[in-house]
Symmetry: C2
Subunit: 389 residues, 2 copies
């Protein structure tokens, strides 16, 4: 035990208040509690609470509305949701006298760029996303952090590789590959930690709804070898820019360097090759990487997914030619998903309009909400069922 | 971005104080800062601060001494260590008006049982532990979370497997295996997250100080399939007991189930077999598991390491016989490491005395401090250099 743990452990050893938080009730209302005897005010912020749309100048963003907790006996503050929560993975934090802090009673936290929040899952036990995000009693794939050479970027870089249950035992079976890209400020951990990608794939494959596949999560920051703190740049502060202070310009773009990763995967895993067995999708910046990479190598990908993508139509003959080449290769699926209040929805709308004008086939999914992981998990759950079939 | 992130991001968007913390100065003194304009008092607790020995009845434990931060301008509180810190990985947390919280400026946190603390590393850049705990510009091994069948425990369970750099490319090379066991309240993530095992192995192997080896980190809680939240029991609260509320008794002990894991590893990895190529070590409860497992299968392990082990001499003919059998197999190393103020040091002392009496060869390392990760990382760094040579 670290010494800091002892400091906290003493709370229970010596009679400090132990509370249960969050408590998910049978009707899926949820109670949050925190022991804060000296506090004057305690708030809860969570993505299950109502939002207010705020004007950020050029765009609107969602601002979560904090709710006040009520102080009960022994200095334990409490809040219960007014309504049952629908099945989902939810995030929250407390604010005690103006200080944002995590829930000391809930060990489950995830990092998003530079912020940690607690999370919990409402598992509807049925045909819903909460069920797919839970770890269920099904066969699990292996999640590995691997390092590969990228001569194009001039460094050894890390990727997360999910191999489906049975990969080790079925030594003669080959598998299709999905490349799954993160957004700005994220890294090769994001789709596993925030995106529940291994749970989604385990569950969909176990239910026969998705084909067993290898999922490769690259690092989309071309000046970084891996997630913050996990390569030789040390323990630097993560930022939306996805780089380190004083970093030299990238030697190439992520789409330019993409073949390095694809070569590594095809050389080191039992991979079914060709467009019919290769998919790529990504969120936000990673949607942009998907957009650019699939245009750059139009015959490589049979399935393409843009999730709230940082992508837009360019009015140029070059763009028209690239798109014509891409659709001439007849990808089996071009999926576009975006939240209806997403601040970068215009790119997706422009693409849909452009595809309509050019009679390019695509599938679209508009969902409630903005530029949020909740939507990206929904899109992955959908997209993974549509590919390699 | 989760909505909670937006709440925090607004602090910087709208002029909230951004501070740097921790700031490691060139002389290795460290400044900690937190913006808390409304706070009345702010303390820092860290394992680099002086300790007070407190009497817990039967044992003494170390209690970290909290220091007060001073409030400066703009409500930013600050503390600078009185002395330079020697190379190490250090943990800390803040207490703001009685509420324990992590450092909002430091994204690096690790969980120990039910407590999260921030950490930072003083990297001496030389022949010191800080250097071995850092991610350096060396070839990195793969870290995989794998699932294997344990018929003895009646479940599919998870282990962490480190394969050294080059494992994927050198397809004809076989490697020795180290089984590395965690303590009570820990799981198959602990040696990677708190123990820096992959950094230690990467660095020692790169410098030629340790043989390239496979490292297998089992889950040592026989009623659990994996770490909290990462198997089908859901998001339960972690505890020192390492079990879930209402769990049925384990079907077998960890030593009894050990061959299930060993079989999986030998069937799925390119493994050099036999005692000369097999090592086992562990901390606290995992030291106990190492102690029991190596006695149960005396011819399997050529290298044995007990780190602050929950292990002791039993006065019985059966124990004497087991130990005689173990040493008859002539293990190349029996290592015992313990902190001089560790509350369970007596077990290690009794073993050393017993080994002396029986003229069994062993190696011992007594280090400063108590039952803490700092010692276990030091023991692993040492032990990994002694094995398979």
């Amino acid at each position: 035990m670290a010494l800091c743990l002892n400091a906290n452990a003493q709370q229970s050893l010596w009679g400090g208040a132990k509370v249960t938080s969050p408590e998910i009730h049978p009707d899926n209302t949820v109670t949050f509690r925190i022991s804060a005897p000296k506090a004057v005010s305690v708030q809860l912020t969570g993505d299950f609470l109502p939002n207010e749309m705020i004007d950020m100048g050029t765009v609107k963003m969602e601002k979560p509305v904090a709710v006040n907790l009520k102080e009960g006996k022994d200095g334990v503050w409490e809040y219960t949701t007014e309504r049952p929560l629908s099945p989902e993975l939810y995030s929250y934090c407390f604010t005690v006298d103006g200080m944002t802090m995590s829930d000391p009673s809930n060990i489950y936290q995830i990092r998003d760029v530079d912020t940690w929040t607690n999370f919990f899952i409402i598992d509807g036990k049925g045909e819903d996303v909460g069920h797919y995000y839970s770890v269920n009693k099904v066969a699990h794939g292996t999640v590995a952090k691997v390092w590969y050479d990228s001569p194009t970027l001039g460094m050894t870089r890390r990727a997360t590789v999910y191999t489906p249950a049975g990969y080790e035992a079925n030594t003669k079976q080959k598998y299709p590959v999905l490349y799954l890209c993160h957004g700005a400020g994220g890294d090769e951990n994001s789709w596993v930690d925030l995106g529940r990608a291994s749970q989604i794939l385990d569950n969909l494959i176990a239910e026969g709804k998705a084909k067993p596949m290898i999922v490769v999560i690259p690092n989309g920051n071309p000046t970084c070898a891996a997630a913050p703190g996990e390569w030789e740049a040390g323990l630097y502060q993560a930022s939306m820019g996805g780089t380190i202070p004083g970093a030299a310009p990238a030697k190439a773009s992520i789409p330019e360097a993409f073949p390095d990763l694809m070569n590594y995967i095809e050389q080191n895993y039992r991979v079914l090759k060709g467009a019919a067995n290769t998919a790529m999708c990504g969120l936000s910046m990673g949607g942009g990487h998907t957009f650019q990479t699939t245009m750059m190598y139009p015959k490589k990908f049979g399935y393409i997914g843009l999730f709230s993508a940082a992508a837009d139509v360019t009015k140029s003959a070059e763009f028209d030619k690239s798109m014509a080449d891409l659709f001439a290769a007849k990808p089996k699926l071009y999926f576009i998903g975006c939240g209806t209040t997403d601040f970068i929805i215009n790119g997706s709308k422009n693409l849909v309009k452009y595809f309509d004008e050019h009679k390019y086939p695509y599938e679209v999914m508009w969902t409630d909400g903005g530029h949020i992981w909740r939507n990206w998990r929904v899109y992955l759950t959908h997209f993974a069922q549509e590919i390699f079939k």
